[in-house]
Protein backbone atom coordinates (compact mmCIF):
# COMPACT_ATOMS: atom_id res chain seq x y z
CA UNK A 1 0.00 0.00 0.00
CA UNK A 2 1.53 3.26 -1.08
CA UNK A 3 -0.89 5.70 0.43
CA UNK A 4 0.87 8.48 2.34
CA UNK A 5 0.23 8.07 6.06
CA UNK A 6 -2.60 10.43 6.97
CA UNK A 7 -1.21 11.65 10.28
CA UNK A 8 -2.27 14.92 11.85
CA UNK A 9 -0.08 16.44 14.57
CA UNK A 10 -1.42 17.07 18.08
CA UNK A 11 -3.76 20.06 17.93
CA UNK A 12 -2.64 23.66 17.83
CA UNK A 13 -4.71 26.84 17.62
CA UNK A 14 -6.64 26.58 14.32
CA UNK A 15 -4.23 23.83 13.23
CA UNK A 16 -1.59 26.51 12.69
CA UNK A 17 2.08 25.52 12.55
CA UNK A 18 3.93 25.21 15.85
CA UNK A 19 6.94 27.47 16.28
CA UNK A 20 9.07 29.70 18.42
CA UNK A 21 10.41 33.23 18.23
CA UNK A 22 12.75 32.46 15.33
CA UNK A 23 9.76 31.57 13.17
CA UNK A 24 8.17 35.01 13.58
CA UNK A 25 8.56 37.89 11.19
CA UNK A 26 6.70 41.00 10.15
CA UNK A 27 3.19 40.02 9.12
CA UNK A 28 3.08 36.84 11.17
CA UNK A 29 0.26 36.37 13.62
CA UNK A 30 1.86 34.90 16.71
CA UNK A 31 -0.52 33.07 19.04
CA UNK A 32 0.02 31.89 22.59
CA UNK A 33 -2.10 30.52 25.41
CA UNK A 34 -2.35 32.15 28.82
CA UNK A 35 -2.70 29.77 31.76
CA UNK A 36 -3.59 32.22 34.51
CA UNK A 37 -6.85 33.09 36.24
CA UNK A 38 -5.73 33.65 39.80
CA UNK A 39 -6.59 37.32 39.81
CA UNK A 40 -9.96 37.09 38.09
CA UNK A 41 -11.81 37.93 41.29
CA UNK A 42 -14.21 35.08 40.63
CA UNK A 43 -14.27 31.42 39.74
CA UNK A 44 -11.12 29.77 38.41
CA UNK A 45 -11.24 28.05 35.04
CA UNK A 46 -9.97 30.56 32.49
CA UNK A 47 -6.56 28.92 32.84
CA UNK A 48 -7.89 25.96 30.84
CA UNK A 49 -9.33 28.02 28.00
CA UNK A 50 -6.22 27.75 25.81
CA UNK A 51 -6.25 23.97 26.01
CA UNK A 52 -9.93 23.72 25.14
CA UNK A 53 -9.60 26.28 22.33
CA UNK A 54 -6.86 24.17 20.78
CA UNK A 55 -9.15 21.13 21.00
CA UNK A 56 -12.09 23.02 19.57
CA UNK A 57 -10.25 24.72 16.74
CA UNK A 58 -8.14 21.86 15.42
CA UNK A 59 -8.94 18.70 13.54
CA UNK A 60 -12.38 19.92 12.58
CA UNK A 61 -11.76 19.63 8.87
CA UNK A 62 -12.32 23.37 8.43
CA UNK A 63 -9.90 25.10 6.12
CA UNK A 64 -8.76 28.35 7.64
CA UNK A 65 -5.85 30.36 6.40
CA UNK A 66 -2.95 29.60 8.77
CA UNK A 67 0.13 30.01 6.60
CA UNK A 68 0.90 33.33 8.32
CA UNK A 69 0.12 32.08 11.82
CA UNK A 70 2.35 30.42 14.42
CA UNK A 71 1.24 28.73 17.64
CA UNK A 72 3.96 29.50 20.19
CA UNK A 73 2.46 27.28 22.88
CA UNK A 74 1.58 28.78 26.25
CA UNK A 75 3.27 31.79 27.79
CA UNK A 76 5.32 31.45 30.93
CA UNK A 77 3.24 32.49 33.92
CA UNK A 78 3.78 32.42 37.69
CA UNK A 79 0.23 32.05 38.95
CA UNK A 80 1.04 32.66 42.60
CA UNK A 81 3.54 35.48 42.12
CA UNK A 82 1.76 38.59 40.78
CA UNK A 83 4.91 40.67 40.36
CA UNK A 84 6.93 37.94 38.67
CA UNK A 85 3.90 37.04 36.56
CA UNK A 86 3.46 40.56 35.22
CA UNK A 87 7.16 40.92 34.53
CA UNK A 88 7.47 37.73 32.53
CA UNK A 89 4.26 38.36 30.57
CA UNK A 90 5.46 41.82 29.61
CA UNK A 91 8.86 40.49 28.63
CA UNK A 92 7.37 37.77 26.42
CA UNK A 93 4.94 40.15 24.73
CA UNK A 94 7.76 42.60 24.04
CA UNK A 95 9.96 39.89 22.53
CA UNK A 96 7.15 38.64 20.30
CA UNK A 97 6.35 42.13 19.01
CA UNK A 98 10.05 42.90 18.49
CA UNK A 99 10.05 40.31 15.69
CA UNK A 100 7.53 42.43 13.82
CA UNK A 101 4.76 39.89 14.35
CA UNK A 102 1.36 40.82 15.69
CA UNK A 103 0.25 38.93 18.77
CA UNK A 104 -2.93 37.09 19.75
CA UNK A 105 -3.11 35.86 23.37
CA UNK A 106 -5.81 33.29 24.05
CA UNK A 107 -7.18 32.29 27.44
CA UNK A 108 -6.72 33.41 30.99
CA UNK A 109 -8.50 36.41 32.41
CA UNK A 110 -8.32 40.17 31.98
CA UNK A 111 -6.07 40.64 35.02
CA UNK A 112 -3.09 39.71 32.83
CA UNK A 113 -3.90 42.18 30.04
CA UNK A 114 -2.13 45.16 31.70
CA UNK A 115 1.11 43.16 31.62
CA UNK A 116 0.65 42.36 27.93
CA UNK A 117 -0.26 45.99 27.29
CA UNK A 118 3.03 46.98 28.91
CA UNK A 119 4.70 44.75 26.32
CA UNK A 120 2.95 46.67 23.54
CA UNK A 121 4.05 49.94 25.11
CA UNK A 122 7.66 48.78 25.32
CA UNK A 123 7.58 47.64 21.71
CA UNK A 124 6.01 50.88 20.46
CA UNK A 125 8.38 53.70 21.44
CA UNK A 126 7.19 57.11 20.34
CA UNK A 127 3.85 55.75 19.20
CA UNK A 128 0.43 56.64 20.45
CA UNK A 129 -1.09 53.52 21.92
CA UNK A 130 -4.63 52.75 22.93
CA UNK A 131 -7.02 50.10 24.19
CA UNK A 132 -10.31 48.80 22.86
CA UNK A 133 -11.99 46.62 25.44
CA UNK A 134 -15.15 44.64 24.76
CA UNK A 135 -16.63 43.38 27.99
CA UNK A 136 -19.71 43.37 30.16
CA UNK A 137 -17.65 45.08 32.87
CA UNK A 138 -15.62 48.29 33.07
CA UNK A 139 -12.89 47.10 35.45
CA UNK A 140 -12.01 50.69 36.27
CA UNK A 141 -11.69 50.24 40.00
CA UNK A 142 -8.82 51.96 41.71
CA UNK A 143 -9.70 50.66 45.16
CA UNK A 144 -7.17 47.87 44.99
CA UNK A 145 -4.82 49.48 42.52
CA UNK A 146 -1.85 47.83 44.14
CA UNK A 147 -3.25 44.37 43.48
CA UNK A 148 -3.31 42.49 40.19
CA UNK A 149 -7.07 41.92 40.33
CA UNK A 150 -9.09 41.99 37.18
CA UNK A 151 -11.38 44.77 38.36
CA UNK A 152 -8.46 47.25 38.26
CA UNK A 153 -7.17 46.13 34.87
CA UNK A 154 -8.56 48.97 32.73
CA UNK A 155 -7.31 51.46 35.31
CA UNK A 156 -3.85 49.91 35.18
CA UNK A 157 -3.81 49.99 31.39
CA UNK A 158 -5.02 53.60 31.22
CA UNK A 159 -2.23 54.53 33.65
CA UNK A 160 0.28 53.37 31.02
CA UNK A 161 -1.13 55.65 28.31
CA UNK A 162 0.02 59.29 28.27
CA UNK A 163 -3.45 60.39 27.19
CA UNK A 164 -5.05 58.13 29.76
CA UNK A 165 -8.66 57.10 29.20
CA UNK A 166 -9.06 59.29 26.13
CA UNK A 167 -7.20 56.57 24.18
CA UNK A 168 -9.46 53.89 25.60
CA UNK A 169 -12.71 52.60 24.11
CA UNK A 170 -14.99 50.58 26.35
CA UNK A 171 -17.59 48.64 24.41
CA UNK A 172 -20.38 46.36 25.56
CA UNK A 173 -20.81 47.30 29.22
CA UNK A 174 -24.02 46.00 30.73
CA UNK A 175 -25.58 45.28 34.10
CA UNK A 176 -24.85 47.11 37.33
CA UNK A 177 -21.53 48.95 37.39
CA UNK A 178 -20.00 50.95 40.20
CA UNK A 179 -21.24 54.54 39.97
CA UNK A 180 -17.70 55.79 40.41
CA UNK A 181 -16.37 53.57 37.62
CA UNK A 182 -19.25 54.63 35.39
CA UNK A 183 -18.35 58.25 35.96
CA UNK A 184 -14.71 57.59 35.09
CA UNK A 185 -15.80 55.70 31.99
CA UNK A 186 -17.17 58.94 30.56
CA UNK A 187 -13.55 60.02 30.08
CA UNK A 188 -13.19 57.09 27.69
CA UNK A 189 -14.91 56.36 24.40
CA UNK A 190 -17.90 54.44 25.65
CA UNK A 191 -20.62 52.35 24.06
CA UNK A 192 -22.74 50.14 26.32
CA UNK A 193 -24.11 46.85 25.02
CA UNK A 194 -27.44 48.35 23.99
CA UNK A 195 -25.63 50.66 21.57
CA UNK A 196 -23.88 47.77 19.86
CA UNK A 197 -27.12 46.30 18.57
CA UNK A 198 -26.73 48.42 15.47
CA UNK A 199 -23.19 47.96 14.20
CA UNK A 200 -23.75 50.89 11.87
CA UNK A 201 -24.85 53.08 14.76
CA UNK A 202 -23.21 56.31 15.79
CA UNK A 203 -21.59 55.14 19.04
CA UNK A 204 -19.54 52.38 17.49
CA UNK A 205 -18.47 54.41 14.49
CA UNK A 206 -17.43 57.35 16.69
CA UNK A 207 -15.34 55.01 18.85
CA UNK A 208 -13.75 53.41 15.80
CA UNK A 209 -13.02 56.70 14.05
CA UNK A 210 -11.52 58.35 17.12
CA UNK A 211 -9.32 55.35 17.86
CA UNK A 212 -8.19 55.40 14.24
CA UNK A 213 -7.31 59.10 14.57
CA UNK A 214 -5.52 58.99 17.91
CA UNK A 215 -3.73 55.63 17.97
CA UNK A 216 -0.78 54.21 16.05
CA UNK A 217 -0.94 50.88 17.86
CA UNK A 218 -4.00 49.36 19.50
CA UNK A 219 -4.50 46.60 22.04
CA UNK A 220 -7.86 44.90 21.40
CA UNK A 221 -9.11 42.98 24.38
CA UNK A 222 -12.26 40.88 24.15
CA UNK A 223 -13.83 39.20 27.15
CA UNK A 224 -16.09 36.19 26.78
CA UNK A 225 -18.34 37.76 29.41
CA UNK A 226 -19.68 40.06 26.68
CA UNK A 227 -21.45 37.01 25.30
CA UNK A 228 -24.56 35.45 26.77
CA UNK A 229 -24.01 32.55 29.15
CA UNK A 230 -25.49 30.07 26.69
CA UNK A 231 -22.13 30.45 24.99
CA UNK A 232 -19.66 30.96 27.77
CA UNK A 233 -19.54 30.57 31.53
CA UNK A 234 -17.97 33.56 33.24
CA UNK A 235 -15.76 33.98 36.29
CA UNK A 236 -17.94 36.65 37.86
CA UNK A 237 -21.69 36.14 38.17
CA UNK A 238 -23.83 37.63 35.47
CA UNK A 239 -27.53 37.68 34.69
CA UNK A 240 -26.90 35.41 31.72
CA UNK A 241 -27.74 38.02 29.11
CA UNK A 242 -25.19 39.19 26.60
CA UNK A 243 -24.41 39.41 22.94
CA UNK A 244 -24.81 36.51 20.57
CA UNK A 245 -21.64 35.29 18.88
CA UNK A 246 -22.98 36.70 15.62
CA UNK A 247 -23.41 40.15 17.18
CA UNK A 248 -19.89 40.13 18.60
CA UNK A 249 -18.46 39.03 15.25
CA UNK A 250 -20.33 41.86 13.56
CA UNK A 251 -18.84 44.33 16.03
CA UNK A 252 -15.37 42.93 15.42
CA UNK A 253 -15.92 43.22 11.68
CA UNK A 254 -16.20 46.98 12.10
CA UNK A 255 -12.73 47.10 13.68
CA UNK A 256 -10.96 45.52 10.71
CA UNK A 257 -9.05 48.58 9.55
CA UNK A 258 -7.62 49.65 12.89
CA UNK A 259 -3.89 49.35 13.67
CA UNK A 260 -4.33 46.49 16.12
CA UNK A 261 -1.00 44.92 17.09
CA UNK A 262 -2.05 42.87 20.08
CA UNK A 263 -5.37 41.18 20.77
CA UNK A 264 -6.40 39.00 23.64
CA UNK A 265 -9.42 36.84 24.35
CA UNK A 266 -10.04 36.47 28.06
CA UNK A 267 -12.65 35.34 30.53
CA UNK A 268 -13.74 32.08 28.90
CA UNK A 269 -14.35 29.33 31.45
CA UNK A 270 -14.57 26.27 29.21
CA UNK A 271 -16.75 23.28 29.72
CA UNK A 272 -14.27 20.53 30.52
CA UNK A 273 -16.49 17.71 29.36
CA UNK A 274 -14.62 16.15 26.48
CA UNK A 275 -17.49 16.26 24.03
CA UNK A 276 -18.79 19.49 25.53
CA UNK A 277 -17.07 21.69 23.04
CA UNK A 278 -19.88 23.98 22.02
CA UNK A 279 -18.75 26.94 24.07
CA UNK A 280 -15.10 26.61 23.15
CA UNK A 281 -15.97 26.16 19.48
CA UNK A 282 -17.93 29.41 19.58
CA UNK A 283 -15.15 31.24 21.39
CA UNK A 284 -12.62 29.84 18.90
CA UNK A 285 -14.58 31.53 16.12
CA UNK A 286 -14.20 34.81 17.99
CA UNK A 287 -10.50 34.07 18.39
CA UNK A 288 -10.10 33.61 14.65
CA UNK A 289 -11.97 36.87 14.03
CA UNK A 290 -9.34 38.56 16.20
CA UNK A 291 -6.62 36.89 14.15
CA UNK A 292 -8.19 38.32 11.00
CA UNK A 293 -8.15 41.80 12.52
CA UNK A 294 -4.44 41.37 13.27
CA UNK A 295 -3.91 40.11 9.72
CA UNK A 296 -5.74 43.10 8.24
CA UNK A 297 -3.63 45.41 10.40
CA UNK A 298 -0.44 44.16 8.78
CA UNK A 299 -1.62 45.15 5.31
Amino acid sequence: MNVAAPIRPVGSFFDAPIGDLDDLRSGTIAMAGVYCDHYSGGMPGGRLAARQLRYASSGQGISLRTDDMIDLGDLNVFPLDPVGNEAILTEQCTRILATGANFLALGGDYSVSPALFAGLRAASPGKSIGLIRISRRLDLSDVFEATPRRDTATTRIAAQIPNGLSNVALLGAAGLQSAEEYEWATDALFAPRTELHDVNGASLSICRDKMMDCCDAIFLSVDADALNTRISQTAIQSDGRGMSTERLLAVLETLQDLPVRVADLTGHLPDLDLPGQFSSAAIAVVGYALAEILRAATR
Binding site: A4, I7, V10, D22, R47, R51, D74, L274, P275
Partner: protein, 324 residues
Protein backbone atom coordinates in the same frame (compact mmCIF):
# COMPACT_ATOMS: atom_id res chain seq x y z
CA UNK B 1 16.82 28.82 18.37
CA UNK B 2 15.53 31.78 20.33
CA UNK B 3 13.08 30.42 22.90
CA UNK B 4 10.04 32.32 24.08
CA UNK B 5 9.86 30.43 27.36
CA UNK B 6 12.61 30.91 29.91
CA UNK B 7 10.97 29.19 32.89
CA UNK B 8 8.94 26.05 33.56
CA UNK B 9 5.26 26.11 32.64
CA UNK B 10 2.51 25.23 35.10
CA UNK B 11 2.04 21.49 35.06
CA UNK B 12 -1.26 21.43 33.19
CA UNK B 13 -0.37 24.15 30.67
CA UNK B 14 1.35 23.93 27.33
CA UNK B 15 1.56 21.49 24.49
CA UNK B 16 -0.58 18.43 25.10
CA UNK B 17 1.63 15.78 23.60
CA UNK B 18 1.83 12.43 25.33
CA UNK B 19 3.89 12.81 28.51
CA UNK B 20 5.18 16.08 27.04
CA UNK B 21 7.09 14.11 24.42
CA UNK B 22 8.59 15.96 21.49
CA UNK B 23 6.41 16.37 18.43
CA UNK B 24 7.74 14.42 15.50
CA UNK B 25 6.96 13.42 11.94
CA UNK B 26 7.71 10.12 10.24
CA UNK B 27 10.95 11.62 8.96
CA UNK B 28 12.18 12.12 12.51
CA UNK B 29 11.78 8.48 13.55
CA UNK B 30 14.80 6.30 14.34
CA UNK B 31 15.01 2.60 15.01
CA UNK B 32 15.19 3.24 18.77
CA UNK B 33 12.24 5.67 18.82
CA UNK B 34 9.15 4.93 20.84
CA UNK B 35 6.48 6.64 18.76
CA UNK B 36 3.09 7.56 20.18
CA UNK B 37 0.23 7.77 17.71
CA UNK B 38 -3.47 8.19 18.35
CA UNK B 39 -6.23 6.42 16.43
CA UNK B 40 -9.39 8.24 17.49
CA UNK B 41 -11.73 5.75 15.92
CA UNK B 42 -14.69 3.71 17.07
CA UNK B 43 -16.67 1.22 15.11
CA UNK B 44 -19.94 1.53 16.96
CA UNK B 45 -20.92 5.13 17.34
CA UNK B 46 -24.37 4.43 18.70
CA UNK B 47 -24.06 2.00 21.59
CA UNK B 48 -20.54 2.83 22.64
CA UNK B 49 -19.93 6.37 21.53
CA UNK B 50 -16.93 7.96 23.18
CA UNK B 51 -13.86 5.79 22.58
CA UNK B 52 -12.75 8.18 19.86
CA UNK B 53 -11.93 10.65 22.62
CA UNK B 54 -9.47 8.16 24.10
CA UNK B 55 -6.25 9.58 22.61
CA UNK B 56 -7.06 13.10 23.81
CA UNK B 57 -7.98 11.92 27.31
CA UNK B 58 -4.85 9.80 27.58
CA UNK B 59 -2.59 12.65 26.44
CA UNK B 60 -4.25 15.08 28.82
CA UNK B 61 -3.75 12.76 31.78
CA UNK B 62 -0.22 11.83 30.74
CA UNK B 63 0.94 15.44 31.08
CA UNK B 64 0.98 14.82 34.83
CA UNK B 65 3.82 12.36 34.25
CA UNK B 66 5.94 14.56 31.99
CA UNK B 67 8.76 14.43 34.48
CA UNK B 68 11.57 14.42 32.00
CA UNK B 69 10.83 18.03 31.11
CA UNK B 70 10.59 19.12 34.75
CA UNK B 71 14.02 20.03 36.04
CA UNK B 72 12.75 19.90 39.61
CA UNK B 73 11.56 16.34 39.34
CA UNK B 74 14.47 14.93 37.48
CA UNK B 75 14.97 11.50 38.98
CA UNK B 76 11.74 9.74 39.88
CA UNK B 77 11.91 6.66 42.06
CA UNK B 78 9.32 3.91 42.40
CA UNK B 79 8.48 4.13 46.09
CA UNK B 80 7.90 0.40 46.48
CA UNK B 81 10.47 -1.12 44.16
CA UNK B 82 12.96 1.68 44.85
CA UNK B 83 13.70 1.74 41.16
CA UNK B 84 15.04 4.98 39.83
CA UNK B 85 14.68 6.13 36.26
CA UNK B 86 17.09 8.25 34.35
CA UNK B 87 14.79 10.61 32.51
CA UNK B 88 17.42 12.17 30.28
CA UNK B 89 16.96 9.81 27.34
CA UNK B 90 13.16 9.88 27.36
CA UNK B 91 13.14 13.17 25.56
CA UNK B 92 15.25 11.81 22.73
CA UNK B 93 13.36 8.59 22.19
CA UNK B 94 9.72 9.09 23.17
CA UNK B 95 8.01 11.14 20.46
CA UNK B 96 4.42 12.02 19.65
CA UNK B 97 3.38 11.85 16.00
CA UNK B 98 -0.20 13.00 16.56
CA UNK B 99 -3.32 11.18 15.38
CA UNK B 100 -4.27 9.25 12.30
CA UNK B 101 -6.61 11.74 10.60
CA UNK B 102 -9.48 9.34 10.62
CA UNK B 103 -12.44 11.47 11.71
CA UNK B 104 -15.49 10.94 9.56
CA UNK B 105 -14.24 7.81 7.79
CA UNK B 106 -16.07 4.50 7.77
CA UNK B 107 -14.35 1.15 8.36
CA UNK B 108 -13.05 0.16 4.92
CA UNK B 109 -11.35 3.52 4.36
CA UNK B 110 -10.48 3.85 8.05
CA UNK B 111 -8.75 0.46 8.04
CA UNK B 112 -6.71 1.49 5.02
CA UNK B 113 -5.63 4.69 6.79
CA UNK B 114 -4.66 2.79 9.93
CA UNK B 115 -2.67 0.24 7.97
CA UNK B 116 -0.92 2.95 6.02
CA UNK B 117 0.08 4.96 9.10
CA UNK B 118 1.17 2.04 11.26
CA UNK B 119 2.95 0.38 8.35
CA UNK B 120 5.04 3.48 7.71
CA UNK B 121 6.00 3.84 11.37
CA UNK B 122 7.10 0.23 11.62
CA UNK B 123 8.97 0.56 8.35
CA UNK B 124 11.15 3.13 10.13
CA UNK B 125 12.02 0.46 12.68
CA UNK B 126 10.43 2.40 15.53
CA UNK B 127 8.17 0.76 18.05
CA UNK B 128 4.78 2.27 18.72
CA UNK B 129 2.34 3.11 21.44
CA UNK B 130 -1.04 3.33 19.74
CA UNK B 131 -3.73 5.19 21.63
CA UNK B 132 -7.25 4.03 20.69
CA UNK B 133 -10.02 4.06 19.96
CA UNK B 134 -12.08 0.91 20.34
CA UNK B 135 -10.74 -2.56 19.59
CA UNK B 136 -11.67 -2.36 15.91
CA UNK B 137 -8.31 -0.65 15.36
CA UNK B 138 -6.35 -3.74 16.41
CA UNK B 139 -6.75 -5.92 13.33
CA UNK B 140 -5.84 -3.25 10.76
CA UNK B 141 -2.90 -2.10 12.91
CA UNK B 142 -1.67 -5.69 13.20
CA UNK B 143 -2.20 -6.34 9.50
CA UNK B 144 0.12 -3.44 8.72
CA UNK B 145 3.06 -5.16 10.38
CA UNK B 146 5.55 -7.15 8.39
CA UNK B 147 6.13 -10.90 8.63
CA UNK B 148 4.89 -13.34 11.22
CA UNK B 149 2.88 -11.90 14.08
CA UNK B 150 2.77 -12.54 17.82
CA UNK B 151 0.03 -11.13 20.03
CA UNK B 152 -0.18 -10.62 23.77
CA UNK B 153 -3.72 -9.56 24.58
CA UNK B 154 -4.66 -8.14 28.00
CA UNK B 155 -8.40 -7.93 28.60
CA UNK B 156 -10.58 -7.38 25.57
CA UNK B 157 -13.11 -9.60 23.94
CA UNK B 158 -12.75 -13.15 22.63
CA UNK B 159 -14.21 -14.65 19.52
CA UNK B 160 -16.54 -17.58 19.44
CA UNK B 161 -15.80 -20.38 16.99
CA UNK B 162 -18.19 -19.16 14.32
CA UNK B 163 -17.77 -15.42 14.89
CA UNK B 164 -14.84 -13.25 13.95
CA UNK B 165 -15.95 -9.94 15.44
CA UNK B 166 -13.26 -9.83 18.11
CA UNK B 167 -9.85 -8.64 16.85
CA UNK B 168 -8.28 -11.94 17.85
CA UNK B 169 -10.90 -13.76 15.80
CA UNK B 170 -10.24 -11.58 12.78
CA UNK B 171 -6.51 -12.15 12.95
CA UNK B 172 -6.88 -15.91 13.41
CA UNK B 173 -9.47 -16.23 10.66
CA UNK B 174 -7.35 -14.28 8.20
CA UNK B 175 -4.38 -16.52 9.08
CA UNK B 176 -2.46 -13.35 9.93
CA UNK B 177 -1.91 -14.80 13.40
CA UNK B 178 -1.22 -18.41 14.36
CA UNK B 179 -2.83 -19.52 17.62
CA UNK B 180 0.53 -20.72 18.91
CA UNK B 181 1.78 -17.11 18.71
CA UNK B 182 -1.06 -15.69 20.79
CA UNK B 183 -1.42 -15.28 24.55
CA UNK B 184 -4.60 -13.87 26.07
CA UNK B 185 -4.57 -12.62 29.66
CA UNK B 186 -7.66 -11.92 31.74
CA UNK B 187 -10.16 -11.52 28.91
CA UNK B 188 -13.23 -9.46 29.66
CA UNK B 189 -15.58 -12.41 29.44
CA UNK B 190 -15.40 -16.14 29.97
CA UNK B 191 -14.26 -17.79 26.75
CA UNK B 192 -16.66 -19.72 24.60
CA UNK B 193 -15.79 -23.36 25.40
CA UNK B 194 -15.47 -24.38 21.79
CA UNK B 195 -13.19 -21.49 21.02
CA UNK B 196 -11.08 -22.09 24.10
CA UNK B 197 -10.60 -25.76 23.25
CA UNK B 198 -9.75 -25.08 19.63
CA UNK B 199 -7.45 -22.17 20.51
CA UNK B 200 -5.54 -23.99 23.24
CA UNK B 201 -5.31 -27.21 21.25
CA UNK B 202 -3.68 -25.20 18.49
CA UNK B 203 -1.06 -23.87 20.89
CA UNK B 204 -2.69 -20.63 22.02
CA UNK B 205 -2.53 -19.70 25.70
CA UNK B 206 -5.41 -18.40 27.79
CA UNK B 207 -4.49 -17.10 31.24
CA UNK B 208 -7.15 -16.09 33.72
CA UNK B 209 -6.45 -13.15 36.02
CA UNK B 210 -5.80 -15.59 38.85
CA UNK B 211 -3.33 -17.67 36.84
CA UNK B 212 -1.62 -14.56 35.57
CA UNK B 213 -1.06 -13.16 39.07
CA UNK B 214 0.95 -16.25 39.93
CA UNK B 215 3.44 -15.64 37.11
CA UNK B 216 6.71 -14.18 38.41
CA UNK B 217 7.94 -11.09 36.56
CA UNK B 218 11.03 -12.90 35.25
CA UNK B 219 8.88 -15.65 33.79
CA UNK B 220 6.63 -13.07 32.18
CA UNK B 221 9.60 -11.31 30.60
CA UNK B 222 10.83 -14.69 29.40
CA UNK B 223 7.45 -15.58 27.94
CA UNK B 224 7.26 -12.26 26.08
CA UNK B 225 10.88 -12.48 24.99
CA UNK B 226 10.48 -16.02 23.66
CA UNK B 227 7.35 -15.04 21.81
CA UNK B 228 9.06 -11.92 20.48
CA UNK B 229 12.04 -13.92 19.27
CA UNK B 230 9.91 -16.49 17.50
CA UNK B 231 7.96 -13.97 15.39
CA UNK B 232 8.84 -11.02 13.22
CA UNK B 233 6.50 -8.62 15.02
CA UNK B 234 5.22 -8.87 18.58
CA UNK B 235 2.20 -6.73 19.44
CA UNK B 236 0.67 -6.06 22.82
CA UNK B 237 -3.04 -5.30 22.92
CA UNK B 238 -3.96 -3.59 26.22
CA UNK B 239 -7.72 -3.13 26.59
CA UNK B 240 -8.99 -1.22 29.61
CA UNK B 241 -11.34 -4.08 30.35
CA UNK B 242 -8.38 -5.96 31.79
CA UNK B 243 -8.88 -3.86 34.91
CA UNK B 244 -11.64 -4.60 37.35
CA UNK B 245 -14.47 -2.26 36.37
CA UNK B 246 -14.76 -1.27 40.03
CA UNK B 247 -11.52 0.66 39.56
CA UNK B 248 -12.80 2.94 36.82
CA UNK B 249 -16.15 2.08 35.20
CA UNK B 250 -15.03 3.74 31.98
CA UNK B 251 -15.48 0.94 29.50
CA UNK B 252 -18.23 -0.52 27.39
CA UNK B 253 -17.23 -3.99 28.57
CA UNK B 254 -17.32 -3.88 32.36
CA UNK B 255 -15.99 -6.93 34.13
CA UNK B 256 -15.40 -8.01 37.66
CA UNK B 257 -12.45 -9.86 39.03
CA UNK B 258 -9.99 -8.27 36.61
CA UNK B 259 -6.48 -7.09 37.31
CA UNK B 260 -5.39 -4.05 39.32
CA UNK B 261 -2.70 -1.48 38.70
CA UNK B 262 -0.50 -3.43 41.10
CA UNK B 263 -0.71 -6.35 38.68
CA UNK B 264 -0.51 -4.43 35.44
CA UNK B 265 2.30 -1.96 36.00
CA UNK B 266 4.96 -4.55 36.90
CA UNK B 267 3.65 -6.81 34.12
CA UNK B 268 4.04 -4.11 31.50
CA UNK B 269 7.46 -3.19 32.89
CA UNK B 270 8.53 -6.81 32.47
CA UNK B 271 7.02 -7.16 29.00
CA UNK B 272 8.51 -3.83 27.94
CA UNK B 273 11.93 -5.43 28.24
CA UNK B 274 11.05 -7.90 25.47
CA UNK B 275 11.21 -6.91 21.77
CA UNK B 276 7.66 -5.58 21.54
CA UNK B 277 7.03 -3.75 18.28
CA UNK B 278 3.83 -2.07 19.30
CA UNK B 279 1.41 -1.61 22.16
CA UNK B 280 -2.20 -0.85 21.31
CA UNK B 281 -4.41 0.73 23.98
CA UNK B 282 -8.14 0.32 23.43
CA UNK B 283 -11.48 0.52 25.13
CA UNK B 284 -11.27 3.72 27.17
CA UNK B 285 -14.50 5.66 26.91
CA UNK B 286 -13.72 8.93 28.67
CA UNK B 287 -17.18 10.33 27.99
CA UNK B 288 -19.18 7.54 29.55
CA UNK B 289 -22.22 9.05 31.20
CA UNK B 290 -21.42 10.75 34.48
CA UNK B 291 -17.75 9.89 34.31
CA UNK B 292 -16.36 12.66 32.12
CA UNK B 293 -14.88 14.53 35.07
CA UNK B 294 -13.77 11.44 36.97
CA UNK B 295 -10.87 10.41 34.75
CA UNK B 296 -9.88 7.29 36.68
CA UNK B 297 -9.75 5.10 33.56
CA UNK B 298 -7.22 7.23 31.74
CA UNK B 299 -5.10 7.58 34.87
CA UNK B 300 -5.09 3.80 35.31
CA UNK B 301 -3.96 3.24 31.74
CA UNK B 302 -1.28 5.91 31.77
CA UNK B 303 0.05 4.75 35.14
CA UNK B 304 0.39 1.24 33.73
CA UNK B 305 1.96 2.59 30.54
CA UNK B 306 4.66 4.32 32.59
CA UNK B 307 5.99 0.90 33.54
CA UNK B 308 5.97 -0.18 29.91
CA UNK B 309 7.75 2.96 28.69
CA UNK B 310 10.44 2.76 31.36
CA UNK B 311 10.90 -0.95 30.66
CA UNK B 312 10.90 -0.47 26.89
CA UNK B 313 13.46 2.31 27.01
CA UNK B 314 15.62 0.39 29.48
CA UNK B 315 15.59 3.18 32.04
CA UNK B 316 15.17 1.32 35.29
CA UNK B 317 17.94 0.85 37.81
CA UNK B 318 17.76 -0.38 41.39
CA UNK B 319 18.20 1.56 44.59
CA UNK B 320 18.72 0.02 48.00
CA UNK B 321 15.63 -0.30 50.11
CA UNK B 322 15.73 0.44 53.81
CA UNK B 323 14.15 -2.45 55.66
CA UNK B 324 11.08 -1.69 57.68
Amino acid sequence: MSALRTAPLPRMAGDLTFMRAKRATLDDLRADSLAVIGIPFERDTIAASGCRFGPRALRETSVYFGWHVNAQFSHPVDIDARKQISTSSIHDRLVDLGDVAIAGHLPPAANTMIQSAIGEIHACGASTIILGGDDSIVAPAATACEGSLGLLQFGGTLPSVDKEDAPLGQLLASKRLRPSNAVVVAPAQNPDTNFADEFENAGGRLLTARKFRRLPAAKLTGLARNLGNSVDTLLLHFDISVFSAALHGMTQTPRFGGLTIRDMQPALTAIGQAPVAGLIVTGLNPTKNGLSVVKTGQRLIVTALLGYIYGRLGLLSSLQREDI
